[in-house]
């Protein structure tokens, strides 16, 4: 394989891997913060136990999320040094802001939260988990602003002499319409992961507890916990639909090739249907005007693609361009630079199916929410085996939806690493092909070495992660609240006692 392909595979693998853990951290941190707030407000010890149970799971996940994130910070320069030179002036800013404004906060305050149950006052300790939840969310915002610049460069000008994009408006970069559309979508998707995780685990425990004869525990512990997750699913489900629709419209405006590829729409049309199943050769022979001739749309919803793209189901204003139109337009615009054979449309098969899988997997969480809200209505619990099974089946679904969504977004960007902004606010000189962004001094065997190293280590860690989550889930919510989280407020930061204290009290938590 060429160095370019290896570098792309490596970025894909490490990023997808990172994004298994990230949405769970963002979603679960927020839900744990909510659980702890309920405890703080009601003083009901059940909520303390629930908080600590899910808090444990959060920590297992956080650790692996952090270490896989470190790699990302280095990878741009290691494998994509030419890209880094081209966009560093713009791209580096949100990255550095993310570190300064979010990473410091989350890592410091998570340490305080983990070890601070006894050392901090209840109020300050609660603030710590909220700081973690907010900063993980903020970090998503900054990194999405960076990513959105690659999808739709704004706030920058082309510097001919230095051959790079230069920042000229940080406000424009941070309020890029692409960012404003992507951020709520990604955050609600993270809540969907967190909500499904909490609801799935609590739901599964409801059935298990009832079967063990612990109906009381199912009703008083796991049912309320499940509701926190279920509410999160409902809120995020509505949010995802709204933000997804908005994002689709933004995308059709900014990257028509990406969305047309997702619909396997080769020829532009009015009242374009949304296809649920397409047969034929979706193998990505892009740019060939006849490529789509043998595609058969088996199941489609009339006019829906037009609605997603333009807001109208039919009529002139519902016209959406096909991939062939886009290819032609781009070839006319950039043919001088890249030659006549350059293909401007992403792989159709991946675009088409990742888009559908994203929606399909998200629906599984919705199904869990509907089933659970009905089964658990008005104080009920259940011992139904199918409910237990549904809970387990639903657990991986939102993770897969997230991965599919990102595969769609990122592979739909090809062949660009910085997509030319074809809108009125764009500078067409700010564009870079993926092939031109890769490091020139790094040999293919070196990239292969790191690809293999990361894949093996990540693979092994994934097994450990699953094993530890399983272990902690199976332990369940403890029957009694932990001995000692301070009932009375102590002074902040108390604990500077001398070494010579007569009786040393063991730490409330120790590694």
């Amino acid at each position: 394989m060429e160095e370019l392909d290896l570098a792309r595979w490596q970025f894909g693998i490490t990023t997808v891997y990172h994004f298994v853990f990230v949405p769970l951290t963002i979603g679960l941190a927020t839900l744990v913060a909510i659980m702890q707030t309920i405890w703080h407000r009601t003083n009901d010890e059940r909520w303390l136990r629930i908080t600590r149970f899910f808090g444990k799971l959060l920590l297992v996940n956080f650790a692996i999320g952090v270490v896989t994130g470190i790699v990302q910070e280095f990878q741009f320069g290691m494998n994509w040094s030419e890209y880094s030179r081209f966009v560093g002036d713009v791209f580096g800013a949100p990255l550095a802001m993310e570190a300064l404004a979010a990473f410091f906060v989350e890592s410091t305050f998570l340490g305080l939260w983990i070890f601070g149950w006894e050392k901090l006052s209840r109020r300050v300790h609660l603030m710590c988990i909220w700081m973690v939840a907010l900063s993980t969310t903020a970090s998503a915002y900054f990194i999405l602003a960076a990513n959105s610049f690659m999808q739709h460069p704004v706030g920058a000008e082309w510097n001919e002499e230095l051959g790079r994009a230069q920042l000229n408006d940080i406000g424009a970069v941070l309020t890029n319409p692409t960012t404003l559309a992507a951020f709520p979508h990604v955050i609600t998707a993270a809540w969907l992961v967190g909500g499904t995780f909490v609801a799935g685990i609590a739901g599964w425990w409801i059935v298990r507890s009832v079967r063990r004869g612990e109906v009381e525990k199912a009703r008083t512990i796991y049912r309320p916990a499940a509701y926190v997750g279920l509410i999160a699913i409902v809120v995020s489900g509505v949010g995802l639909a709204i933000t997804g629709d908005q994002q689709a419209k933004v995308m059709y405006e900014q990257q028509p090739g990406k969305m047309s590829a997702a619909e396997s729409l080769c020829v532009g049309q009015e009242a374009a249907p949304f296809s649920l199943l397409t047969l034929g050769n979706l193998n990505g022979t892009v740019g060939d005007p006849d490529a789509c001739d043998d595609l058969v749309h088996v199941l489609s919803i009339p006019g829906l693609t037009s609605f997603l793209a333009t807001g109208s189901f039919s009529g002139e204003e519902s016209y959406v361009p096909g991939t062939n139109d886009v290819q032609e337009a781009f070839a006319a615009e950039f043919g001088d630079s890249y030659g006549a054979d350059m293909q401007y449309i992403p792989n159709l098969m991946i675009s088409y199916w990742s888009f559908r899988l994203m929606i399909g997997f998200a629906v599984v969480s919705g199904a869990l929410a509907l089933a659970a809200l009905w089964t658990l209505r008005r104080g009920r619990v259940t011992d139904s085996p199918w409910f237990s099974r549904l809970c387990l089946i639903a657990l991986p679904a939102p993770f897969l939806a997230n991965i599919s969504g990102w595969v769609f977004t990122e592979m739909g960007r090809q062949p660009w690493v910085v997509v030319p902004n074809i809108g009125a606010d764009g500078d067409l000189d700010i564009r870079l092909r993926t092939a031109d962004g890769v490091s020139t001094v790094v040999s293919a065997p070196t990239v292969l070495l790191s690809l293999v190293a990361f894949t093996l280590i990540y693979g092994a860690l994934a097994v450990v992660w699953l094993r530890l989550l399983r272990k902690d889930v199976l332990a369940g919510v403890p029957d009694a609240a932990p001995d000692s989280p301070d009932r009375e407020d102590t002074a902040d930061g108390e604990g500077t006692g001398s070494a010579g204290d007569a009786a040393v009290k063991p730490l409330d938590f120790a590694y």
Partner: protein, 350 residues
């Protein structure tokens, strides 16, 4: 002072923060096994850095992110050119990071043994390689006309750089021992104090030799002689303070020595950010930096956020400033079970 120079200084500050703070994390990781008599001792060591190591590591992420933002060419040349050592560091940091959280999750010796090894790899490897990389900065590297590093892998590991690796390694070992002496109580602390005194001398010698070598052979600025003098004084201070069992002073002196080492590295390459063996191809503050607008934006951000970070990280250190002893470490279930079994057996054994 122009903004590019300011960012050169700020990146030096970020590296100082990283190496001073992670320095003792690495030291604790390297000394976790040698200083321990049993699992409780190991956990004692890990828990001295438990709440803070992650925040300490973010200084690295920020230094790298700031380099990307302020000097894109430096970022691109450094990371693509030093690919293999950075890959090793990344692998080490991955293993170390999960170890702290995962080590205590399963209560078997075999499980702990595996993660202990990861903590050791994750501490020894970066402690050595960061020194190698910084020594390369000081010495200068082969860069071509397109700002690409073309020196190859072997040139990264020449004697000067290897000695530079020994410098960070030995300084961090001492730093870790002093930190443990400062953060623990009881018999364990006595061992840490004794070890710190033993480690201080070789680390002072190795560092002294390298610092002189760097100054005589490679420094591009005469004023760095002043830094050399203060580094030497700080190293003497570490030796004296560890002998006198004044761990607070020893820690401060060693932190100063590490911090000034960064000052020496950055001071001796200024105004280059990555000096070329042929000065004409050096990456400098002028030719590697981002645009003035970008630097201005980042300056405002840093101006507001860095003090805040220092404030809450300082507060965290205060919250967890209490010394730990073996009694602070709650026993794991297996130890409780063993104690219970031992208690029952006691009457039958004469």
């Amino acid at each position: 002072m122009d903004l590019a120079t300011l960012w050169f200084l700020l990146i030096a500050v970020l590296w100082t923060g990283y190496l001073v703070l992670e320095g003792f994390d690495f030291g604790v990781g390297m000394l976790m096994r040698p200083l321990a008599k049993d699992n409780t001792d190991r956990r004692l060591a890990i828990n001295t850095i438990g709440p803070i190591w992650d925040g300490n590591e973010v200084w690295l992420i920020t230094a790298i992110g700031a380099t990307f933002a302020a000097f894109p060419h430096w970022y691109a040349t450094l990371l693509s050119g030093f690919y293999v050592p950075l890959l090793l560091i990344l692998v080490a940091l991955i293993l170390r990071g999960v170890s702290f959280e995962y080590r205590h999750k399963v209560d078997t010796p075999r499980w702990r043994e595996g993660w202990d090894r990861c903590i050791e790899i994750g501490s020894w490897v970066p402690a050595f390689l960061w020194g190698v990389i910084f020594a390369n900065f000081v010495r200068g590297v082969e860069i071509d006309g397109d700002m690409q590093y073309v020196g190859g892998l072997l040139a990264i590991f020449d004697p000067f750089a290897l000695l530079g690796g020994a410098v960070t390694l030995s300084l961090f070992l001492t730093h870790g021992a002093v930190f443990l002496a400062l953060k623990t109580a009881g018999e364990y602390q006595q061992r840490a104090v004794a070890l710190a005194a033993r480690l201080a001398v070789p680390s002072a010698v190795v560092t002294g030799v390298w610092v002189l070598w760097a100054q005589l052979a490679h420094s591009r600025n005469a004023w760095t002689w002043a830094v050399v003098a203060v580094v030497a004084a700080a190293l003497v201070g570490v030796v004296a303070a560890t002998r006198a069992r004044r761990e607070g002073w020893a820690f401060t002196s060693n932190a100063v020595a590490i911090g000034l080492l960064v000052v020496l590295v950055f001071g001796s390459i200024f105004p280059a950010v990555m000096p070329g063996t042929d000065p004409a191809t050096s990456l400098t503050i002028a030719n590697a930096s981002a645009s003035p607008y970008s630097l201005m934006v980042m300056s405002w951000v840093a101006l507001f956020l860095v003090p805040v970070v220092l404030l809450y990280q300082g507060w965290t250190f205060k919250v967890f400033s209490k010394r730990l002893s073996r009694e602070s470490i709650p026993p794991q279930p297996s130890e409780l079970a063993a104690a219970a079994a031992g208690g029952e057996q006691a009457p039958t054994a004469p």
